[in-house]
Every structure is written in C-alpha cells, then in structure tokens.
C-alpha cells in the first residue's frame, strides 16, 4: 500500500525522490483575476476596490453591508477566511477581514471602519465557525461589539479582566 502511495510521488529506481511536474498553471491566469475583479465591482459597486499589488487587494465597504459582502467572498467566490485584523486609527476602529482565494494566491482584505463612540458591527459567525475566535479577539482587545456573536467570553485576556480593559486601543494606558 505504501509503495503505491509513494509511487505517485515520483520515486526513482533506487528509492530516491526526484522532481515532479507540480506547477500550478492556473495560478498566473490574467483572465481569472480580471473575472474576479469584475464580479466584485458588479456585486458591490459602492465599495472602493484597491488593487495594490497583483495578489493583494483591499476593498473598503460600508459596515452595514459587511455580512452581504463577506457572504459573497466566502460562499460565492469560495474564499477561505484567513483572519481579521482590528486597529484603532484616527478614522475610527478599522477591521480588515482577510479572505484568500487559494487557487490564485489572491488575498482580498475587506475593510470596514467603525466610529469611535459606538463601534458595533454584525458578526460573521453566521457564515462559519472559523470566524468566532478572530471576532472574540477583536472584541476584547479593541472593545468592538459584534451583533450576533454568541460567545463573548475572553479569548486571550485573563477571565477576570474588567469590561473596559481594551489593550489595543490607542487611549489604553
């Protein structure tokens, strides 16, 4: 059985491993990138899609449309959710949801900006369990409320941290 498995991995006569032919031809296909760009612009024309580099796109959207756009990325485009980055910026609290289209190596970072006085956004746990820990981390570190996030226990901070203890806020300390 092992021999059969190994043979598919290009074994030479002496049992040593030699090179395969494992290139990824679809990876650099320009029409694919154009197609995805077109789909994004058509689905949500109000958004600001910024193609910073070939495989690094940033897409700024309105916070109230987050679930709609994330659903499009996760289910329609078939992205994998990589992680979410929260930051306290002068414009407000920013969350970047990093979605990866692995067959193209393309990373689409969806950006939402929330006001400093009442940072609230819909939870993406309706799409999959993979979003939960990223949201719980941002919830405790930046004090952003996620509507619909069932489990809001502390993830990284000690269980007895006070409710207004948010270390990633610029005002902290």
């Amino acid at each position: 059985m092992a021999d059969e498995v190994i043979k598919t991995q290009n074994l030479d006569k002496n049992g040593a491993y030699i090179g395969g032919k494992g290139f990824c031809p679809q990876r650099d296909s320009e029409p694919e990138f154009k197609n995805i760009e077109g789909q994004c612009r058509e689905f949500y024309p109000e958004g600001e899609l910024n193609l910073v580099r070939k495989r690094r796109w940033y897409w700024e959207i309105a916070a109230e449309d987050l679930v709609k756009v994330a659903d499009f990325c996760f289910n329609t485009l078939g992205c994998r959710f990589s992680t979410a980055t929260g930051e306290d910026t002068p414009r407000g609290f920013t969350i970047l949801y990093h979605f990866s289209i692995d067959r193209l190596g393309l990373l689409i970072s969806v950006r939402v900006i929330l006001p400093h006085d009442d940072p609230q956004v819909d939870s993406l746990t309706v799409l999959g369990q993979g979003f939960e820990w990223a949201e719980r981390e941002i919830h405790e570190m930046l004090g952003i409320g996620f509507r619909g996030l069932g489990d809001t226990r502390h993830l990284l901070l000690p269980d007895d941290s006070p409710d207004d203890y948010h270390p990633y806020r610029r005002s902290f300390g």
Binding site: A16, V52, T83
Partner: protein, 397 residues
Amino acid sequence: MAELERKIIPIGPFHPLQEEAEYFKLKVEGEKVVGLDIQLGYMHRGHEKICEGKTYDQIPFVVERICGICSTSHPFACVQAIEDAAGIEIPPRAAYVRTIVGELERIHSHLLWAGLAGHFLGYNTVWMWAWKYRESVLEISELITGNRNHYAMFKPGGVRRDIEGGMIPPLLATLDELDKKLTMLTKAVLDDPMLHKRLEGVGVLTREKAIEYSVEGPTGRASGLKIDVRKDDPHAAYDWVEWEEIVCQEGDVFAKTKVRLLECLESTKIIRQCLRKLKDLPEGEIDARMEHGPDGEGVGRYEAPRGEVFHYVKGDGSMYPVRYKIRAPSSMNIKSNEVAVLGGSVADAAIILAAVDPCYCCTERIAAFNTKGKFLYNWNDLLKLSQEKTARMGGGS
C-alpha cells in the same frame, strides 16, 4: 438502561499535547466524547504590541521567539510582510537559502509530530525512529545556520548568512542518507496494519467542516483541501523548483499522518534542487538594503509545518510599524477539534487532539473528577487508556 452521567475531563491548561498552554474541556458520556470547549489565553504574551515598539530589523528576532518548533516560519512571514509593504525584491541566492531553511524546519517538525503521535498510541518504536532521524535534520540545520533551532537567518531584504559552494556536496550526501531513512520510515508507518486499525476513521474532519472552520496546512490537506501557500502564493524559490502538493480525502488521523510523512519526502526534493541551483549561481548579494521603513500595508504568508502563518504590517515611513498583526496556523486548526473529536472514545481523544499538531512541550497536569468530586483520571491515565487500546488490538511496543 440508566442514562449515562455526563462528565467533564479537563485537559490542561498545562499538558504535553500542546506547545502553548491551552485548556480543553472534554465532555464525555461513559467512554464517548460528546462535546469540547476550548479555552486559550494562558500563553498570551502580547507579541503584536511588542512589535510596534521594535524597528523592522528587530521584529524578525522577536517573532522568531513565538514558537520553538516552527521558529523560522514566523520570521519568514514577517520579512515577507515587510518586503510586501516596502516593495523590495530579494536576490535569488537569498530566495534559495530561505527555502532550504524553511524546508529543513518542516522535516524536523513533521518528524517530531510523527514520533509523538507514535508515543501517544503506545507505539514507541515509531517514536524512537522518527526522533532518531530528526537528529540528522537538526545537524544539517546546525551546519547551515549555526543552530539546531532558532536560526536567526532572515532579515528584511534577504538572509544573514550564505550557504557557500564548499558546503553543498557534503550536504547533498547527508540528504541522500536522510532520504533513505525517511523512505523506510514512511513505508513502515503506512504499511503497518496496527496503525491502520488504530488511526483510520478516527477523528474525521470532513471537507465541509474543514471549509467552515477555515483550517489549513496538513489538517486541511488531509481533508481534501488543495491549499498550500508555497504553491498558491509563490514566494522565495518555491516556484523555481518542482514538487508536489500532498492531498488526501479521508480527513482522519491516518490521512494527516500520511500527508505529513509524504511532505517530508517532498521537502528533501525541494532542498536538493535548491542546493544544486545555489551551486550553479555566481557568488553574490544575499540581501537587498531597506533604506527606510515602508509607508503602507503589507501581508506576508508562509506555509509553516502546521499551515499558513499570516503576518500583516502597516507602516508610516518610520522604522517602526504602526500596527503589526500575527496569526499562527494553530489558531484556525485547533478550533476544528470541536467537531473532529465528537463521537469518538476517550481513548482516542489524545491522538485526535494531537492530530492538528498543536506543538508539544512542558509539564503535564490534568485530573478528571466526576460531578461528586470523585477522582477519575489524570493525564497519565488517559495516555495509558490510549496505549492499552493499541495493546488490546495486538500491537504496540
């Protein structure tokens, strides 16, 4: 029949299944696992915040300390994030050296996992073989970088040390030896009837759940997801050499074992090609200078032994980042244990929780009590249960 009492077996916060201290609350009815609650946070050290106070030259050294086993994965992703933000191209020699160091780490990490998995099953022969062969990988690492682990090889723009021409022939000879050993170990493990019985169909993570939990690395590839950052998002020298992605469909612990062992063989293939190409390249630069800090955002991704390491950096033109984000693969993979462990027996829990390879270390301290305070198991008992199951099936050593 009387209804079985639901009990909780706490695993952790400190025990040898995990590199970091985590707390698994295993909910069981009799022998059957019916739920899992995972609590993190015991090892939170605030690396993201520390990095904001360091210069771009210092950050690779800080992030190298995040993990002891995959110590080069974080610097790999880190320097790529900085280079992405600053728009730096690295010299070809540096790309080959990075690839070689990254792959050496993958082999020793996978062998470490295979050994410990064998130990958890009470199959110590696998443990002894795997760790013995791992030593020769560490020796190659020491020859190239000066260290068995924590190589400190990477810097934004390139690498800190070159692999010189004279070193290459002995390295190739050592690799040939290593290949034979790895092939033997792989065949022995994949052909072992006891390991088939013990691991097939155990801790299955279906493809659908793998997508829902966004798992990655060998955990995802064992569930039929064809994802590998080295292939998908080309960097360093990974698209200048030929190699195969290993993908299995079954999603059980055996598939994860198969993926990891076969990946070791692919890694030696990559290293061998890189060394040969490095030999043919003229001596030259191994780093591109970074004159000032990046002004903008950058993302670095690298396929660590456990999956995609993700680093995000945002700079304002100074030598310090404004925001630094780190996400290690285990933080996506560990959560999938919630579904993988369901319906299995307590004796299988140890190997299922270990199958996502959440690194191992440190002290062990678990105890299980029922709701009336009566002592049930400690960690050693759980390990013994696992090992006894293998023995009952007529295997082990």
